[in-house]
């Protein structure tokens, strides 16, 4: 029991940091760059992706024995597309303004390689509960990345966060940050920091290990 819990926690936490879909696997770049020009858009996209990924992983893991190997990719896509359509209509009915902002990028969640990647690499080979934990972790990691990028770009490019003005009228926004190049610049810099941090951490662990060896 304890072991399963541990494993479930592992599957959940790896998506947020160690195997973060954006910062480590560099997947799902299309929505990542396209809708992160404001924090609220990033949040809505993260939410929709969360719903689609968790729902699809649950179904794929449930039906993994029924889905024939030769047609599995098509079956995954059908499942994902169904969830995306449901998310699309629901958002349009409940929050029309956000739906208007995200526009074409909601249907494009179907083509988010992170989602198909999780079905192929994980959900189709694991139990339902593990698949759902993995999906929640990955979706949370994706949401975290979207929000980071969206916040940085909105603060620099528009002087606001979640639509709240931060710096007053004297702030000259860096318009480039909310344009597509700003997405690439910000993502590049964040990846740089992330990798630098990972390398530093590995070096630190090595050093500690070396120190322990020499002292014993």
């Amino acid at each position: 029991m304890d072991k399963t819990q541990n494993q479930a926690y592992e599957e959940f936490i790896k998506g947020i940091w160690r195997e973060n879909p954006v910062f480590v696997q560099v997947l799902g770049m299309c929505p990542m760059l396209a809708v992160t020009n404001s924090a609220i858009n990033a949040f809505a996209m993260g939410g929709a992706t969360f719903f689609v990924l968790v729902g699809s992983s649950f179904l794929v893991a449930s039906f993994k024995n029924l889905i024939r190997k030769q047609v599995r990719i098509s079956s995954f896509i059908i499942i994902i597309a169904t969830f995306v359509t449901v998310a699309d209509y629901t958002l349009e009915a409940l929050v029309p303004t956000v739906h208007k902002e995200l526009g074409a990028f909601i249907p494009l969640i179907v083509a988010n390689c992170m989602i198909l990647g999780r079905q192929e690499a994980f959900a189709s080979k694991n139990t339902i509960s593990m698949a759902v934990m993995d999906a929640i972790g990955m979706a949370a990691g994706f949401m975290l990345a979207l929000l980071t990028l969206g916040s940085v770009r909105e603060i620099l490019g528009n002087g606001s966060l979640f639509g709240v003005d931060l710096f007053g009228p004297d702030f000259e926004p860096w318009i480039i940050m909310i344009l597509p190049p700003g997405g690439f610049l910000t993502l590049g810099l964040i990846l740089l920091v992330f990798n630098w941090f990972t390398v530093k951490k590995a070096q630190f662990i090595d050093k500690v290990a070396a120190a322990e060896r020499s002292s014993s």
Partner: protein, 240 residues
């Protein structure tokens, strides 16, 4: 991952694991079943959300009409048939209606005319208020747009730009000028960094004017507000 999925699919000789051959019919059945279930699910969610989506759209339109026609709080839908502008109550899909706005006493305020045309990214759909006796645009509201967030979307987010259309002469034809250069009554200050979107708005209004201005009756001869319509509009308002 791609390489793996290819080898599994095509049963090549160098394949690491042996995948049991499934008869084609099984594959077809699996996919057909998946498609069927997915289709039913999509039909269901469409049926469930359709009333809300339609109601949302109608509300946005009604609010838009009242926004572009300051002072109006009743509206009447008009269609152009056989050279005449007539009130209508039914909603057909192919028709292109305009809306007449009236104040509390039922006197005519202006027309709200929908227009659409290509923007920077995709079609921009808008609604503008037109006052026939002064030949002025008195309000503009973007209903549909996928313009660049942060730049092009200022066509509806930037209050300064929208204010250009509160008292805008349509003769001679509306033109865009560089921000801050507006000097004549028919000029619009463009948005810095979103010139194409700004120009698109002006072009849509000009093009829609070309279609509709000749169809409108003489100022003073506007269709009167029908009582039936008033009640309908008011009951619709109280629902909100």
């Amino acid at each position: 991952m791609t390489a793996e999925s290819e080898t599994v699919g095509s049963a090549g000789p160098q394949m690491p694991e042996i995948v049991p051959e499934s008869p084609t019919i099984r594959l077809v059945v699996t996919l057909a079943l998946a498609g069927l279930i997915s289709g039913i699910a999509i039909m269901g969610i469409y049926e469930v959300t359709l009333p809300t989506i339609t109601a949302n759209k109608a509300r946005v339109l009604r609010e838009g009409v009242f926004k572009v026609l300051p002072g109006a709080n009743r509206l009447q839908k008009l269609i152009y048939v056989d050279g005449d502008l007539a009130p209508t109550a039914d909603t057909r899909k192919d028709e292109q209606p305009i809306y007449a706005g009236y104040d509390m006493d039922g006197s005519f305020v202006g027309y709200a005319i929908p227009g659409a045309g290509p923007g920077f990214q995709d079609t921009i759909g808008l609604l503008y208020g037109f006052k026939p006796n002064t030949r002025q645009v008195i309000g503009m509201e973007v209903l549909e747009s996928k313009e660049t967030p942060g730049l092009g979307d200022k066509i509806y987010k930037d209050a300064e730009f929208v204010a250009n259309f509160r008292q805008l002469s349509i003769e001679p034809e509306i033109v865009t000028v560089k921000k801050g250069k507006k000097s004549a009554a028919n000029e619009v200050d463009a948005i810095t960094g979103a010139t194409i979107s700004s120009k698109a708005i002006v072009r849509i209004i000009n093009e829609t004017n070309d279609i509709w201005l000749s169809r409108l009756p003489e100022p003073g001869a506007e269709p009167p507000l029908l009582e039936v319509q008033t009640e309908a509009a008011e009951s619709a308002k109280t629902v909100d």
